[in-house]
């Protein structure tokens, strides 16, 4: 388990570096930590090491901004958990990555806009994560690779009390967590 974690982190760090080289100016924390190549306890209690392993996945790199996997938010209509046709391909790409990388995992964070009752909005966010989970599993992702949490209206992506903000807040975020 720990060994897998180390490998995974190494993969993630490499991926981030790859992202830096194409983007140029990405100053993400993981990118900087990786440059130092130190064997220390990183924030959050995970242990990093200098081991280099390219991993086993083929196809997309998680942190290549040109890859569809760099898009990790999908949006929903009011009071709806229907995934738009345009997002099906995106979810299929994430599913393909997860299915071929059994050590990878995601948390699906479900959100709602601020209108209406808070706990009902938790329900809406949950239903959105379940809709995404079903699509991922249809494409071969193992159930244990997917965790869900609904924040309802508690963590808006956009502040403001109007349609433009609400549209950005009705969403599911795909967060890669590793295992």
């Amino acid at each position: 388990m720990k060994h897998q974690l180390n490998r995974l982190l190494a993969v993630l760090l490499l991926g981030t570096l790859a992202g830096c080289s194409t983007m140029g100016g990405d100053k993400s924390d993981t990118g900087e930590a990786a440059v130092e190549d130190r064997s220390t306890t990183a924030e959050g209690g995970a242990v990093t090491s200098g081991a280099v392993d390219s991993g086993s996945f083929a196809g997309y790199s998680l942190d290549d901004p040109a890859s569809p996997l760099s898009r990790r938010v999908i949006y929903f209509e009011y009071d709806s958990s229907n995934v738009a046709a345009a997002d099906q391909d995106l979810l299929a790409a994430h599913a393909g990555f997860l299915a071929s990388n059994a050590g990878q995992a995601v948390t699906l964070e479900g959100h709602a806009d601020e209108r209406g009752s808070r706990e009902y909005n938790i329900g809406l966010g949950d239903r959105r994560t379940q809709a995404v989970r079903r699509i991922l599993e249809l494409h071969g992702v193992a159930p244990h690779q997917v965790n869900t949490v609904s924040y309802g209206e508690e963590k808006p992506a956009a502040e403001g009390h109007h349609d433009a903000a609400w549209r950005l807040n009705r969403r599911v975020e795909i967060v890669y967590t590793g295992r």
Partner: protein
């Protein structure tokens, strides 16, 4: 005659700490026919130049916040009697006040006081109620609220809810970091006490029926979990941490069970949890969202929100489970119910024309009445005497609390000096 006035509460020192009004209460719509009353500043006998608390001001503020009374402004007080023998009833009759409150605070020892008060019927020239209370420094505000309760009960025939508390959640952003705080304050906004602070969302505070504990949802571990916490000691217990939703906690009236929403079986359903064994029992079974359980005051049934009919509406189910019965039919959105203490009304969030407002359903007649005029009103909670509903609303870009009388005629706003305040839960009457 429509009276609109502001009740501005001042900071007052109490005990070792500072009793600050976290929530400033502003009356935004007065009530026609509010009862005129004179509350005369209490007399003071003690070492200091003045009494440690202005008891009359606390009582006067309580009475005006109820919407049922219109206390005479201090400048209109024709006299300042502090004992019965000094009262000239004809002077007060000329001012058209129905009732008069006088009293005295006496220092009886180090930090010990006696508070005496009398309520008079001005037109009959007779005392209606009078009491004397011993109190420590820290008890003075509570005694003042208790006097307000006695006056309210005597003159309206209904119990007052001044000696109660409100739990609520505040959010603030500092240095780009958001923080969430769960607080408990007196019902006049004074004496706010933080019971939990987190950098992740806190939600859905709910009081136990004895008023000693609060259940809530915390995301402190990046997942929804339900805790209960003893308000006085701060001791807390994690009750629910299942996969998915752990939300919407509601104590049964007998305090032995918690109703809650879990999605561990695939989608949000209502469960009850036995607080001794922590065993859970599922009450609903439907592919829709079922959430926001509220116990009827007799504990026999629960009302909850479900979109099983296509839009969120309120349903009622027996506490032992079974078939649910739909209760709301007006509009496409009715959610987040709270029972009135007598079990005959439900407050809820009701949407019409894109505006989310607080409405009350009369369970006897089936009539739904919209009480508020905001755009994003939510989280209604009845006062324990059933006279007011506190709720969350927006003003400009800030979240504030507001309260409205059950008949919709009287309104007030409760706001923080900075930051947002939301999810008010009015405590039950204190267990004594």
């Amino acid at each position: 005659m429509r009276m609109i006035f502001r009740a501005v509460l001042l900071y007052l020192t109490i005990g070792a700490g500072v009793a600050q009004a976290a929530l400033t209460i502003e009356i935004t719509q007065g009530m026609e026919g509010a009862m005129p009353i004179a509350v005369v500043p209490f007399g003071w006998t003690g070492n200091a130049a003045s009494a440690p608390e202005n008891i009359a001001a606390i009582i006067s503020s309580d009475l005006s916040r109820s919407g049922r009374f219109e206390p005479l402004p201090d400048r209109d007080l024709v006299a300042h009697p502090t004992e019965a023998g000094q009262v000239q009833f004809h002077n007060w009759r000329m001012l058209n006040v129905d009732n008069l409150v006088i009293g005295q605070v006496t220092e009886t020892g180090a930090g010990r006081y006696t508070i005496q008060f009398q309520l008079f019927d001005v037109f009959r020239g007779k005392q209606l109620v009078g009491f004397s209370f011993p109190a420590s420094h820290a008890d003075l505000r509570r005694v003042a609220h208790h006097i307000s309760d006695l006056i309210y009960k005597e003159l309206t025939g209904e119990p007052g809810a001044f000696n109660t508390r409100i739990a609520y959640v505040t959010t603030a952003t500092a240095g780009g970091e958001k923080s969430y705080t769960l607080l408990v304050a007196d019902s006049d906004g004074y004496n706010p006490q933080t019971i939990l602070r987190s950098d992740q969302p806190l939600m859905s505070p709910a009081w136990s029926s004895d008023g000693r504990r609060v259940a809530y949802v915390s995301f402190e571990n990046k997942t929804a979990e339900i805790y209960t916490q003893d308000v006085a000691s701060g001791a807390r217990r994690k009750l629910a941490s299942f996969q998915g939703i752990n939300g919407a906690p509601a104590w049964s009236p007998d305090g032995r069970r918690l109703a809650l929403t879990l999605s561990r079986d695939g989608n949000p359903e209502i469960y009850t949890m036995d607080l001794d064994s922590l065993a859970v029992k599922r009450l609903t079974s439907n592919a829709a969202i079922d959430t926001e359980p509220a116990w009827s005051p007799d504990g026999s049934s629960l009302v909850f929100t479900s979109d099983r009919g296509g839009s969120p509406q309120l349903y009622r189910v027996s506490a032992s489970g079974g078939q649910a019965q739909r209760l709301t039919f007006d509009g496409k959105y009715n959610a987040g119910a709270d029972f009135s203490p007598d079990g005959r009304k439900l407050a809820m969030v009701h949407a019409e024309g894109g505006a989310y407002r607080i409405a009350v359903l009369d369970l006897d007649t089936g009539v739904l009445r919209v009480l508020t005029d905001g755009q994003l009103d939510e989280s209604p909670s009845f006062s324990p005497n059933g006279s007011m509903i506190i709720y969350a609303t927006g003003t400009g870009n800030r979240e504030v609390l507001a309260a409205v009388s059950v008949d919709g005629r009287f309104r007030q706003r409760l706001s923080l000096q900075a930051g947002n305040v939301r999810e008010p839960a009015w405590s039950p009457f204190e267990a004594n």
